[in-house]
Symmetry: C7
Subunit: 90 residues, 7 copies
C-alpha cells in the first residue's frame, strides 16, 4: 500500500532512538524515548514543501507530533510542514 | 437514505483494522483499534475537495477525527477536507 | 410563537433516533441516543444558507451541536451553517 | 439609571420561563430554568445591530450568555450581536 | 501618582455595590458583590475610545474584568475598550 | 551583561510593593505582593514601542505578566508592548 | 550530525545556569534551574531572523520554550523567532 500525503503534509518513517545505553545495556520498551527524527518517504503536492524536503531527507520534529499511521506493519507518521523543525545532515 | 456532504466535507465508510492478530487470534471488540482509513462515499460541492478525492478513493485520517453518523445501520464518518491526511493506493 | 433565526442560523426540529431496538424492545429514556438529524423549520436571512437548505429539508449535524430552545413545548435547535454537515434524502 | 450599550451590544430584559408546571405546581427557585428569551431594552450604536432589532423586540439567546447587570433592582443582560440566535414573534 | 492608560485602555474607579441590604443590615465583606460599574478616571490615547468615554463618565463592565491596580491606596481598574459593555446615566 | 529586547519587547526592573504595613510591621516574603510596576531599562527596536516608553519611565503591568530573567543577580522582566497597561508619573 | 533549522527557527545550545550557590555549594540536579539563555548554533533561512541573530550570538528565551533535541549527545533547543525575547552582550 502506498500513501500520498495531501497538501503540505509529509510522510515520514521515524528513526528510533538508540535502544542501548552507552554502556551497552539494552533498554526495555517502556524506557525507550519517542523518536524525534525521521526519513522522508513521500511529500505532498504543495510546492513550498516540495522545495523544502525530498524523499530520503532526514527531518527533525517534536516528540509526539504528527499522526501515527500503520502501513503494511510499519509505523509511519504524517506531519504538517509546520511540524518540521529542522533538516539533518547525518 | 442518501447523505450529501456540505461544502468541503466528505462522507467516508471506515475500513475496520484487522480483527485478528498475526497468529490468528480473533480480537475482542474492546481490543479493536480505531479505523484510520476509509472509502469515500460522497464528496461535498466544494471544487477543491472534488479535485482531491472521488467516490471509491481510500483516504487516511487521524483516529477519532470527523463525526460518526449512522446511515441505515452502517457507521459512516463525515470528515472535513483538513482532516484528510493522505490518499492510499492499495 | 414563531422564531426567525438570525444571519446564517437555521431552526431545526430534531428527528429522534429509533427508540426501539431491532428486536422490538422499547428503550428507556436514558438509553436513547442524541439526535443527529433534523427537519429545517426556518432559515436565517443569509443568502448562502438560503441556497443550501429550505424549510422541510433534512440536515445532519453532530450530536449536541447547536442551541436547544423550547418553543410551545417542542424542543427545537438553532444551528449555525457551519454545524450543518450534510443534507439527507430519505 | 439608564444604560446605553456600547457598539453592537444589546440590553435585554430576560423573560423568565414558566414557574409552574402544566399541572399547576409552583416550581421552587432551584428548579427554575435559565431564561433564553428577552425583551430588547436598548440597542448599541452599531448600524447593523440597529437594523436587526429595536427596543421591544423579543430575542432568543443561549442560556447563560451575555453579562448579567443589576439596574435599579432588575436583572438585565447585555448581549453581543453574535449571541442573538433568533428573533421571536409571540 | 498619576496613571496614563496606554492605547485603548481606560482607568476606572469602581463603584462599590450597596453594602446594606434593603432592610438596612450591613453586609460583611465576604458577602459583598464584585463591582460592575466605575467612574472613568483617565482615557488612553486611542481616538475611538476618547470619543466613547470621558473622565467622569460611568461605565458598565463584567465582574472581574480588567486589571486591578493600587494607586495611592485606592483600588482602580484598567479596562480595555472591549471590556466596556455600556455607559450609564445615573 | 546587557540585554537588548527584541522587536516590541521591553526590559523592566520591577518596583517591589511596600514590604511594611502602614503600622510599620515588616511583611514576611510569603505575604509580599507581586509587583505591578517597573522602571524601563531597555526598549526593543520597534518604532512604536520606542515612541511609547523610554528607559527610566515607570510602567504598569498585570501581576505575573512577562518573563522573569535573572541578570547579574537582579530579577528583571521582559514584557511585550501589549502587556504595558499604563505609564505612571510618580 | 548537523541540523539546519527550517524557516524562522533557530538552533541554540543552552547555557546552563550556575550550579553552585554564591557560598560555593554544588546544587544537585533536581535543584538546578532551567536555562533561559543559549548560544546560537544555526539560523533558519528566513531573512528577518538572519538579520536578528547570527551563530555565536547569545539569546534569551523563556524557560521550557522551544523543542529540546539531542544531537550527538548534546541537548540543544530549536526555538521559533517569536520565542527569542532578547539578545545578550556578555
Amino acid at each position: 500500500m502506498r500513501l500520498k500525503p495531501v497538501d503540505d503534509r509529509i510522510l515520514v518513517e521515524p528513526i528510533e532512538p538508540e535502544t542501548r545505553t552507552p554502556s551497552g545495556i539494552v533498554l526495555p520498551d517502556a524506557a525507550k524515548e519517542q523518536p524525534q527524527m525521521g526519513k522522508v518517504v513521500e511529500v505532498g503536492t504543495d510546492e513550498e514543501v516540495q522545495k523544502l524536503v525530498r524523499p530520503g531527507d532526514v527531518v527533525v520534529f517534536a516528540k509526539f507530533s504528527g499522526t501515527v499511521v500503520k502501513v503494511d506493519g510499519r509505523e509511519l507518521r504524517i506531519l504538517s510542514r509546520s511540524e518540521i523543525l529542522a533538516t539533518a545532515e547525518l
